[in-house]
């Protein structure tokens, strides 16, 4: 009897092995994007072409390689075939304030604003982002909510990693409509030698059932494979990973670690993530130097072991200059790899000479590229104006490194050249009229004021009270409309204002001035709430007369605490127009408006300057950090002479 039962069990086992049965259905699917290479998971697409960054693995909370984000908006969009209800990721190495906006299937969105991260502790210099509707959707009364995309808006180079999302398998369509769960074990053995390689794959089966559990899994699909790598280690892979080439990439990593000392894929090596120094010596010199028994040829590729030490070193935050240097270094390495075969034909006495050859090659290539970009334009003068005004446009090319290579002893000298080209644009009366018309047109297109139209005759008939009511209603309508403008629309109007010049706004109607004033105020409010792009910040800075774009953010913060600055932003345009009417050649900036308002407040109430001081808010460590560069310069112009006058007066007394 026992023997029969045993036989029956064995037959059952064999039947299971012949026809694997669908045992469990996974409803909840976790999918991870580890940013190991430039191929992202098919469920997500990322805008702005971010690159994979592997030079600072395991820094800023990242695991392995991560996604490098630079200045701009990066949109991560999920496939429409899946309904994502949970997403998490981290963003690290962010120095400036930034934001993340979540977009949902019901066309709503939500923005999380974050300030710059603390750079004193690189290990913890990251923010976790987690959005989940798992519990929310579980409540029957709630309408299910799903995440369709999210934006990451940054202004400095940063890293994004450990991204995962969760969706319901049963509602997925297209390629994501996976419902069955089977399990099998595949054994793959790869052997390799210096000349040939062979791959043998055998397949066995097990009866183990793998359930996809809710806690963070390490795989994305339901089928599990155990692969024996060439070095004898065993790794587990899912079906998706088997299909998307993860096994091949892992094998490449192992091979490259053995060959170059870098645990990277071939694509990463080709991209230049691994520092490889090609050392080309004459055979005799090489043998003398390295004293090796192996026969090495002139084109032997030797991996510089410094790479490993570099990775293990304590992380130091990179400045823009350092990043540029690193990029240059990477470019050099890529070119070095490209030139590897060509270099074989040359013999170099030293490593420096080989390096110099590659550098010169890159310089010549860059020069030829620039030469191709130069276009010759034919200028036709149809109408030459009587007054020719020299145009001013500040274009300062700073820290341009020009390397001079000397032929005598291969000496290289680096010098910094600063090229300053000054051009100024002064508009003629006709040009001002054209620009003003453009500004009015743009404002008319964008701004629609919801107040009844009143003719000039009707306004003249108004009593004083009616006139005040009308002005207030108009101001309120403009304010309400401008507040609802999109950032792009605000910037578009500001660009037109810059084209005209604030000093030329006297030419436009009072209504347009009021709209412009409101738009300028709105721009600062936007700068408070969200991160403006570099271009947008430049536009705002130009309107307010700032030379430094950082001043925009300083003013945005200052208006929260300083009433004078807030009032100055509010009245800047009107005051600038009044100032321009006095035919002054000087430029009127926000600092001038602030000083004017401070003086008016002082005259109105001299004691308030002392009484209104909030001693708790004073921080001696950053006294002048809340002042714009323009304001600092203005203050300097006053304070320095005051101190000098005092010193002179003391000196005069002594002589007396």
């Amino acid at each position: 009897m026992l023997s029969k039962l045993n036989s029956l069990l064995r037959i059952t086992c064999v039947l299971f092995l012949i026809a694997p049965t669908s045992i469990a259905i996974a409803d909840e699917v976790w999918e991870w994007e580890r940013f190991e290479d430039n191929t992202f998971e098919s469920a997500i697409s990322i805008s702005n072409n971010p690159s994979i960054y592997c030079n600072e693995e395991n820094q800023y909370g990242t695991k392995g390689c991560s996604l490098a984000l630079n200045n701009g908006t990066y949109t991560f969009t999920f496939s429409t075939d899946i309904q994502v209800y949970e997403v998490a990721f981290l963003v690290g190495a962010v120095n400036n304030s930034y934001s993340v906006t979540w977009y949902y299937a019901d066309n709503t969105s939500e923005t999380e604003n974050k300030s710059g991260q603390d750079s004193s502790d690189f290990a913890n210099m990251y923010d976790d982002f987690y959005k989940s509707f798992t519990d929310y959707n579980a409540v029957e009364e709630n309408t299910d909510k799903y995440i369709t995309a999210f934006d990451v808006v940054l202004t400095d180079i940063s890293l994004l990693d450990t991204l995962y999302w969760q969706y319901d398998d049963s509602t997925a369509t297209g390629n994501f409509a996976t419902t069955t769960t089977t399990s099998s074990t595949t054994s793959s053995t790869t052997t390799s030698s210096t000349t040939t390689s062979s791959t043998t794959t055998t397949s066995t089966t097990t009866t183990t059932t793998v359930y996809v559990a809710p806690p963070p899994p390490t795989t994305t699909t339901t089928t599990l494979y155990v692969v024996v790598m060439a070095d004898g280690t065993e790794s587990e892979y899912t079906e998706t990973e088997v299909n998307d080439g993860t096994i091949e990439r892992d094998q490449e990593r192992i091979d490259n670690e053995t060959e170059f000392g870098c645990f990277m894929t071939n694509a990463q090596i080709e991209r230049g993530d691994c520092i490889i120094i090609i050392e080309v010596y004459e055979e005799e010199d090489y043998e003398e130097e390295y004293d090796t028994e192996e026969e090495l040829f002139n084109d032997v590729v030797v991996v510089d072991k410094v790479e490993d030490e570099f990775i293990e070193e304590e992380f130091v935050e990179l400045t823009e200059q350092e990043i540029k240097e690193l990029e240059k270094e990477m470019e050099f390495e890529v070119k070095e790899l490209e030139l590897k075969e060509q270099i074989e034909f040359f013999e170099f006495d030293s490593e420096e000479e080989a390096k110099e050859f590659v550098e010169t090659f890159i310089e010549i290539e860059e020069f030829l590229e620039e030469l191709e970009e130069i276009e010759v334009e034919e200028i036709v003068f149809e109408d030459i104006p009587k007054d020719i005004i020299i145009e001013i446009e500040d274009e300062i090319i700073e820290d341009e490194l020009v390397e001079e290579v000397f032929t005598d002893e291969s000496e290289a000298e680096t010098e910094v050249q600063e090229q300053v080209v000054e051009e100024e644009v002064e508009l003629t009366e006709e040009e001002i009229k054209v620009e003003v018309a453009e500004l009015e047109e743009v404002i008319e297109e964008i701004i629609v004021i919801d107040i009844p139209e009143v003719t000039e005759e009707e306004i003249e008939e108004y009593t004083e009270e009616e006139l005040i009511d009308y002005e207030e209603a108009k101001e309120e309508a403009i304010e309400e409309f401008v507040e609802e403008l999109e950032t792009e629309e605000v910037v578009q109007i500001l660009e037109e204002i810059n084209d005209v010049g604030v000093e030329n706004l006297a030419e436009v109607s009072q209504e347009v001035i009021e709209v412009v004033a409101q738009v300028v105020e709105e721009a600062i409010t936007i700068a408070q709430e969200e991160v403006l792009t570099e271009e947008q910040t430049e536009v705002v800075a130009e309107v307010l007369g700032f030379t430094e774009t950082e001043d925009v953010q300083i003013v945005a913060e200052a208006i929260k605490t300083d009433e004078n600055v807030a009032q100055a932003v509010d009245e800047f345009v009107e005051r600038a127009v009044e100032f321009a009417k006095n035919d002054s050649d000087q430029e009127f900036t926000l600092a001038d408006a602030t000083t004017e308002i401070a003086f008016e407040s002082f005259v109105a109430s001299p004691v308030s300057v002392i009484i209104d001081i909030d001693l708790d808010a004073i921080n001696l460590n950053n006294i002048a950090n809340d002042m714009t560069t323009d304001q600092k310069e203005k203050a300097q112009e006053v304070i320095v002479p005051t101190i000098l006058v005092r010193i002179v007066s003391f000196a005069m007394r002594r002589f007396d």
Binding site: A598, F602, D614, A617, M627
Partner: protein, 60 residues
Amino acid sequence: MINKLWSWLIQAVKETLNLAWTLVGLVIATLTLTGQAQQITAIATVITLAIWLLTIGFRK
């Protein structure tokens, strides 16, 4: 006592007048500054002036 106080008041007015140009400069500086810098300059000006006037006798 009243005479002493009166005498000090006269001296204080004289000293303040001597400092008129400096004070004008500092007031303008205060008005040109913004934020914390403005507040600190204002406080420092007032406190220093007070100390200056209270120590007339000591300085002489």
